[in-house]
Every structure is written in structure tokens, then in C-alpha cells.
């Protein structure tokens, strides 16, 4: 009597195991496929960068012939030195080192400036009560709706009336008012417990003391996240620098590359490629090195 039951049980277990094995195999195959597609995706993503990276180590003749090398060539050092010290001799003649410096100054001052003025105004709006508080908040908020792209001509006119064409100030100041950063700080300040403010007041700390000793240290993570986003924003500006730089003195690298291409027959393609690599290194490095803060900050600022 026991025999058949045991067999059935055994069979059942065997069947279950078999099914589990089949599921495992299926799963493994699916995982394998997932990896394959993801690797293909990553490769497709990286292809344009790979081509430029490899191309930047060849001479101009190879690239102009259209050979599109996919492996490194022997001219890496020459090309990068030439781009760094002289730039494209046949078109712009502005050395890449100068353009990089301009981009660095612009990106860092925009990021720091935006963070500084935003944290101050968010502090005022959250921790004080004064006539016109809501008006001030809305005035800042509404700038979200006025990106530079829609104010091209009139903003250019204001900056030129102020004599700020071709200056760092003209490049930077009009871009450092930021509704997004103010909103982020405001959101964060609202989570600071009232007890903390109360304790500070009882201890006799004034508002600036509280700001310096409590608010700023608590905001460090938010500042780091914003710094990544705003550095990339500043470095990547195109339309604004294009409008207000007419000489090489304050030209940024993003503008510089496009000007290097010029009329195509004369283009030093190998130097354009080397410059492109140099132009994308700093913002990519900032994003990858500060990935943790960046992802957090990005998802939070856009909320």
C-alpha cells in the first residue's frame, strides 16, 4: 500500500525539481539575454565617444580621407599638445587651455553663485516673517518660466546696455538666479525641526549665527548635489555664451569646438576630436565621481 504513494510522492518531488530546473535554465537564459542587450546598449551609447577618442590619436589626413579609425594611432601626444597650446591653426587659433580656463571659471562661478544666492533667499523666505514675503517667493518661482532661450534678444540688449558683452560678468551674472536651487533649499529648510530654532533662540543665537552654525552644516549634502547639477549646467551653456562672446578672450570650450569646425574643407578634424575629448572630460568626471549625490539631487530638484 505504501509503495505507490511513495512513488507518487517521489515522482512529484522529481517533477517539481525538474520544473524548478527548467525555470532556472529559463531564468539563466533570460539573464544572459538581459546582459547581452544591456551591453549592446552601453556599446551603442559609447560608440560616438570611442570614435572620437580613437580619432584624436590619428593625423588629420587619415580622418579627412574618411577612414574613421577604430583603434588608437601614433599621434596622441602631438594632437593633444597642439590642441592644448595652439588650438586649431587653420580656423580659430584660440588655444584649448584658454577656453578650458574660461569654461572652468564660468561653471564654478555659476554653481557657487547660484548656491550662495539661493540658500540666502530660501533662508529669508522660510525663517522670517516680513511684508512682501510671498511676493518675493513668487517672483523667484516665476523665473522657472523664463529660460534664457525665450528672452534671447531683450536679455542680450540689457547686457549690452550695461557694457557687459565679452566679460566674465556678462557670461555669468545673468545665469546665476536660480528658482530650482531656491526651491530645493526651501523644501529642505522646512524639514528642520522648530525645536532647533527654538533652542538656538534660547541660547541667544541670532539669525546669522543660526544660519552659519546650524543651517549651512546641515545643507552640505544638498549643496554637493546641486553643485554637480549646476557645474554641468554652467559648463554646457551654449546659446548664452554664443550671444555675448564675440572675441576669443572669454570664449568657452563648448562654443570653441563648434567654431573650430568652421568651413569644413579647412577643418583640423584631429584637433576637433582631441578638443571634444577635453571638453567632455570635466563634466563627465564630476558626474561619475559624485554619482551618489548627483542622482539624489537630480531626482529631488525635479520633484
Amino acid at each position: 500500500m505504501h509503495g505507490p504513494v511513495a512513488t507518487t510522492k517521489g515522482e512529484a518531488i522529481a517533477r517539481a525539481e525538474e520544473a524548478a530546473e527548467r525555470a532556472d535554465a529559463l531564468r539563466q537564459r533570460a539573464d544572459w539575454l538581459t546582459h547581452a542587450i544591456l551591453i549592446l546598449g552601453v556599446a551603442l551609447f559609447a560608440l560616438p565617444i570611442w570614435i572620437v577618442l580613437m580619432g584624436s590619436t590619428h593625423d588629420v589626413a587619415t580622418i579627412s580621407r574618411g577612414e574613421v579609425p577604430l583603434l588608437p594611432g601614433p599621434y596622441a601626444i602631438e594632437n593633444y599638445v597642439a590642441a592644448w597650446t595652439e588650438g586649431s591653426a587653420r580656423t580659430t587659433r584660440v588655444p584649448v587651455s584658454a577656453m578650458m580656463l574660461n569654461s572652468f571659471v564660468m561653471a564654478i562661478l555659476i554653481a557657487v553663485g547660484k548656491i550662495a544666492i539661493s540658500i540666502l533667499s530660501a533662508y529669508a523666505v522660510v525663517f522670517f516673517s516680513f511684508p512682501g514675503r510671498m511676493l518675493a517667493f513668487w517672483a523667484i518661482f516665476i523665473t522657472l518660466m523664463l529660460p534664457v532661450e525665450v528672452r534671447i534678444f531683450p536679455t542680450f540688449k540689457v547686457v549690452s546696455d550695461l557694457g557687459m558683452i565679452n566679460t566674465y560678468a556678462g557670461l555669468i551674472v545673468p545665469l546665476i538666479a536660480s528658482a530650482t536651487a531656491t526651491l530645493l533649499f526651501r523644501q529642505f529648510f522646512l524639514t528642520i525641526p522648530d525645536e532647533l530654532v527654538e533652542a538656538a533662540k534660547i541660547d541667544g543665537a541670532g539669525p546669522m549665527r543660526f544660519f552659519q552654525d546650524v543651517v549651512v552644516p546641515l545643507s552640505v549634502t544638498n549643496m554637493a548635489a546641486l553643485f554637480v547639477i549646476l557645474f554641468v549646467y554652467g559648463w554646457n551653456q551654449y546659446l548664452w555664451p554664443l550671444l555675448i562672446t564675440t572675441t576669443g578672450d572669454v570664449e568657452t570650450i563648448v562654443i570653441g569646438i563648434v567654431r573650430m569646425i568652421g568651413s569644413e574643407a579647412d577643418t583640423d578634424w584631429h584637433l576637433v576630436m582631441a578638443t571634444t575629448v577635453l571638453a567632455l572630460l570635466p563634466p563627465v568626471a564630476v558626474v561619475i565621481l559624485m554619482q551618489r549625490w548627483f542622482v539624489k539631487g537630480l531626482v529631488e530638484t525635479e520633484k
Binding site: 546598449g41 546665476i176 558626474v287 520633484k303
Partner: protein, 293 residues
């Protein structure tokens, strides 16, 4: 929106607000106001006399077939950039969300294009699409397809769409991945136990739960395609050939900076402002539950 415990000072908050409000007034409100004012004016050819013309600049815009054409181009361009960037990103995010080894590595490998400027992305794609020095462009010409985005309008549009979408995929990927990871595993397991196939689970459970993210990204991508792709177009096609890639922004730039047509450029700015306000309003209406004024 204010704390219960506040500081009593009255003068200090104005001082704290001063830098931001000063910059905002001079570089945002003044130019925006001027754009609105100038859009009702017309200058003669020598820039000497200016007269008030009411809505004439707007009427002229609406009647200008070239303006309507650039509006159409903007819509087609934005549609394809958004569709391409979002669908590729969603596909990759769904794959990366599967619990496989190396998911973090894929994330790192996919997010860096976020950091690349639109204009630099365009330069990268020159070496793919250019008929002489580009990998694909040269290949196509080699097999007998006449490919030159500097001559053919459709090919120019394809080129700027691909370069613009490529840059935006990583941004969408981050948000889709965050959205997917916030879906409770128990919901998916319940569906799996009920015998729903992976495809069915995706369309009936995951996709609806992702809809807030999808909608948010839709607005962001449209805004990106409208405004931030200026650099891509300027670097690749300069709006050509024969205005085939002249979007509204590109045209406002040409009329304002190059043709110095004050009235028309201002009217175009006003139209663009209305577009941004509409997009922002839609976005906030949708996510107002998350924003506390």
C-alpha cells in the same frame, strides 16, 4: 510654508533676498517686460523711428508660411526626440531593474552622457553621420545611398533627432530606474503568482504604476526638445538645408541676433514664453500634490 518659530528681524530678510531679487529683476523681468513691449512696436529699416503697431507683429508671424513651417518642424522634431529618448530609456531601465549581477555598473555606464553638452553631443555625431568623415555616412554612400545631411532636409532632421535623443536617454533612464525601483516587489510577485506572463505583468502592472514618471518625463523631454537643442542644431546643420531644421528657437535667434529684427524677434519670444508657461502649468497641475506652496 513658513516655520512656526521664526526670527523677529524685519530688515535682515530683505538683505538676504537682495542678491537674488536684483539679478532676477535686471536679467529676467526687465528683458521679459521689454520683449512684451517691443513685440507691439516696429522699427524702420534704419532703426531710427519706432512706432506702435499693436498685434501686427503677431499677425504677421501667424501669416508667415516660413514661421508656420518652423512651428511644424519643431513639433515633428520634438515628437521624435521625445519618443526615441523615452522608449530607449524605458527599455534599458526595465532590463537594468531585473535583479542581475552588475546592475550598478550598467547604471554608471549609462548615466554619463547626461554630462555632455548638446553642442558637444552634436560634434560627436558628426563623426557618425558626416558623409566624408563619419562612420555611418561614409558607409551609406559606399553602398550607394546618397547620404548628406547638409543637402537633404529629411536626413538633416534624422541627424539632429538622433544626436538630441542620444543625450537625453541617460536622464530618462535615471528617472525610469528610480520609478521602477519604487514599485513594491509584492505587487509584482502577486501578479506572477496569478500566472501573468512577464509581458503582461509589464503592461498591466508596471507601466500604469510608472505613469507619473512617464508623464513628468514627457514634459521635461518636450521642454528639452523645444529649448535645449539649440546647440545641437547650431553645431550640426545651422537650421538648414533650406530651413529644414529651423526650429522656433533657432528662428528667434536668427531674427534677433543676426537679422536684428526687433519687433518680430520680440513677438517670437512672447510666443515662446507662452509655450513655456503652458508646459510648466501642465507639469505643476499634475504634480501639485507633491509641491507645497
Amino acid at each position: 510654508m513658513r516655520k512656526k518659530v521664526i526670527f523677529p528681524q524685519i530688515g535682515l530678510p530683505y538683505l538676504l533676498l537682495l542678491p537674488q531679487l536684483a539679478i532676477t529683476s535686471v536679467f529676467f523681468f526687465l528683458p521679459a517686460g521689454q520683449a512684451i513691449w517691443f513685440s507691439f512696436l516696429r522699427q524702420d529699416a534704419f532703426g531710427i523711428r519706432t512706432e506702435f503697431v499693436g498685434f501686427e507683429n503677431f499677425v504677421e508671424l501667424v501669416q508667415d508660411p516660413l514661421y508656420l513651417e518652423s512651428l511644424w518642424i519643431t513639433l515633428v522634431f520634438s515628437f521624435w526626440v521625445t519618443a526615441l529618448a523615452m522608449s530607449v530609456a524605458l527599455g534599458l531601465a526595465v532590463l537594468a531593474d531585473r535583479h542581475i549581477r552588475g546592475a550598478t555598473a550598467y547604471k554608471t555606464l549609462l548615466i554619463w552622457p547626461y554630462a555632455i553638452a548638446p553642442a558637444v553631443a552634436a560634434v560627436l555625431w558628426i563623426f557618425i553621420f558626416h558623409p566624408q568623415v563619419g562612420l555611418l555616412g561614409r558607409f551609406l554612400n559606399g553602398i550607394g545611398v546618397a547620404w548628406d545631411y547638409k543637402l537633404n532636409g529629411t536626413q538633416a532632421l534624422i541627424t539632429v533627432v538622433v544626436a538630441s535623443a542620444w543625450k537625453q536617454v541617460s536622464y530618462n533612464f535615471l528617472f525610469f530606474l528610480a520609478g521602477l525601483q519604487s514599485i513594491p516587489r509584492s505587487v509584482l510577485e502577486a501578479a506572477a503568482i496569478d500566472g501573468a506572463s512577464p509581458a503582461r505583468r509589464f503592461w498591466t502592472v508596471v507601466f500604469p504604476l510608472l505613469s507619473p514618471t512617464t508623464f513628468f518625463l514627457l514634459v521635461i523631454n518636450l521642454t528639452y526638445a523645444f529649448f535645449d537643442t539649440f546647440g545641437v542644431i547650431d553645431a550640426l546643420t545651422k537650421g538648414g538645408p533650406a530651413k529644414a531644421t529651423t526650429t522656433l528657437i533657432y528662428r528667434a535667434y536668427i531674427d534677433g541676433r543676426v537679422n536684428l529684427d526687433l519687433g518680430s524677434s520680440s513677438a517670437q519670444s512672447v510666443v515662446l514664453m507662452l509655450a513655456v508657461i503652458a508646459l510648466t502649468a501642465v507639469q505643476f497641475r499634475f504634480i501639485e500634490r507633491k509641491v507645497h506652496y
